[in-house]
């Protein structure tokens, strides 16, 4: 079963930054890492990956560089300091959102 597309779309930045916080990756690897890390639950549309990456690069949250060490010329991305701070901010926001939503759902299922 896959996560709803809208939820994945809305949190794509958080997913990409989370991947890049672990190591530098190229676009294709990021798409695969998102799938692997979520046991296939998150599938980011590969076409929408590059607009996200380029926007993040433009916002200086990640930076791209070309590398040929693997024998093929690829553009790798690494997270910047701003990106790390943004990841922390977004994670915190998500945790808060998640806990509040859980409370609301809990109240709806089991009203006091």
């Amino acid at each position: 079963m896959n996560a709803p597309k809208e939820l994945v779309k809305g949190n794509a930045v958080l997913m990409i930054l989370s991947c890049l916080a672990r190591e530098s990756m190229h676009g294709y690897r990021i798409a695969r890492a998102i799938e692997e890390m979520s046991d296939g639950y998150f599938t980011l549309g590969e076409g929408s990956l590059y607009p996200h990456l380029h926007q993040l690069e433009k916002d200086q949250l990640i930076e791209g560089y070309w590398d040929t060490s693997s024998g093929r010329e690829r553009k790798y991305y690494r997270i910047t300091e701003h990106g790390t701070a943004e990841l922390a901010r977004r994670s915190e926001e998500w945790q808060r959102f998640y806990s509040k939503l859980n409370v609301m759902i809990g109240l709806a299922i089991d009203p006091v």
């Binding site: 676009g27 294709y28 590969e46 607009p51």
Partner: protein, 380 residues
């Protein structure tokens, strides 16, 4: 058509950035394909899977185009600037035609409105030249140039509508100097002012365009050839040899249009066509009136419209690959020959034009059909 090629065609960003984005996308597609093929699929099937997984290339290209957009508020401001140019032009017209202003003096330099208006037009042109060259040096395409060219085209059209001899002014001395006793006085008419402004703006636009062309490896040879042709034309004029300057100008105009809209997406085709249409109509009016002033307006306009339609169709046909741009240059020459033939024998001209339109239309219709089918396949 190949997915990457379609993506590349739709991507409307600076050539340097485009190269990088396409290279990145190409690596992604290759890796995806290898992955899919390792599961036992053929290369063809793998390509279809990749295309489906990636989604509509036009949409991705549009999103990337928006991110890499070169135009911001500066470009928007620059696009509006030529229309603000109406103010100095009006100042110049008022300074020369309004009787109330005659009291300001009869000599050119004693007319403050003309002087200030003229200075503003020159300032506008120089600003455009500097900004244009700066943008090109930073690998940005001066997208605002189109509105400058459109505005400059508007000026002689207005002059022509108000003065039926106006196109003659294109090949004649514009200003009538008369000796008023206390030296030479200057009596410009307002349509001549419009022409002067047109020349300023068009000359500067052409300079920016030539600069852009010379920096682009693909266009360098063509530009050098065009410049050589112009230099040759100028030389012939110096030696009083009659040459068809209208044709030369039309070719330059087409080159300008191509540069401004080069590597366009489908969404800008209509703008490109409109640009070529307006320009071509203008040149044909000037051309027809200079050579054939007795021709009835109906015949002239019908011929102009037919030729303009053929130009647009040629552009649409040739808009996908830069090699096809050469078709447009040839097309301009063919249309001029058709026009000449039309004058000699309307039947021969009409037949030739109809043949050209049909030849161009069939592949366009076929291409549109193929494109729609491909899109439906991807959407499925």
């Amino acid at each position: 058509m190949d997915y990457l090629k379609r993506f590349e065609r739709e991507l409307d960003i600076s050539s340097v950035e485009k190269k990088q984005v396409v290279k990145e996308m190409s690596a992604h597609i290759e890796e995806m394909k290898e992955d899919v093929m390792s599961k036992g699929l053929s290369a063809e099937d793998a390509e279809a899977v990749v295309a489906r997984k990636l989604g509509n290339p036009a949409k991705i290209a549009a999103r990337l185009g928006a991110i890499h957009e070169r135009s911001g508020w500066k470009s928007m401001l620059l696009s509006i600037l030529p229309f603000l140019g109406v103010v100095p032009i009006l100042m110049m017209i008022l300074g020369t035609r309004n009787k109330g202003m005659d009291g300001l003096g009869t000599l050119y330099f004693n007319r403050p409105l003309v002087l200030v208006g003229g200075a503003l037009v020159i300032l506008l042109s120089i600003t455009m030249l500097v900004i244009g060259i700066r943008e090109i040096l930073h690998n940005k395409r001066p997208s605002w140039l189109a509105s400058f060219l459109a505005a400059s085209m508007f000026l002689p059209l207005v002059a022509f509508i108000k003065n039926k001899y106006a196109p003659m002014a294109l090949t004649r001395s514009h200003f009538d100097y008369t000796d008023s006793g206390d030296g030479f006085s200057f009596s410009p008419y307002w349509h001549e002012i419009l022409y002067s402004c047109f020349y300023w703006i068009i000359c500067v636009s052409v300079l920016v365009i030539i600069f852009a062309l010379l920096r682009d490896g693909k266009w360098k040879l063509l530009t050098i050839s065009a410049l050589f042709a112009i230099a040759l034309g100028a030389r012939l004029v110096v030696f009083n040899i009659d040459i068809n300057l209208a044709l030369l100008s039309a070719v330059m105009f087409v080159i300008a249009g191509l540069v401004v809209f080069a590597k366009h997406r489908y969404s800008t085709t209509s703008r490109a066509s409109l640009f070529l249409f307006v320009g071509y109509v203008f040149f044909m009016i000037a051309f027809a009136n200079d050579i054939d002033p007795d021709n009835s307006k109906f015949i002239v306009i019908t011929r102009i419209l037919s030729s303009a339609v053929a130009t647009i169709l040629l552009y649409l046909r040739a808009a996908n690959k830069w090699t096809k741009y050469m078709v447009i240059l040839c097309g301009t020459v063919i249309i001029n020959i058709t026009d000449y033939l039309w004058k000699l024998s309307p039947q021969a001209g009409q037949s030739l034009l109809s043949m050209a339109v049909i030849t161009v239309m069939i592949p366009i219709l076929f291409e549109i059909r193929t494109k729609r089918s491909n899109e439906l396949l991807v959407a499925d």
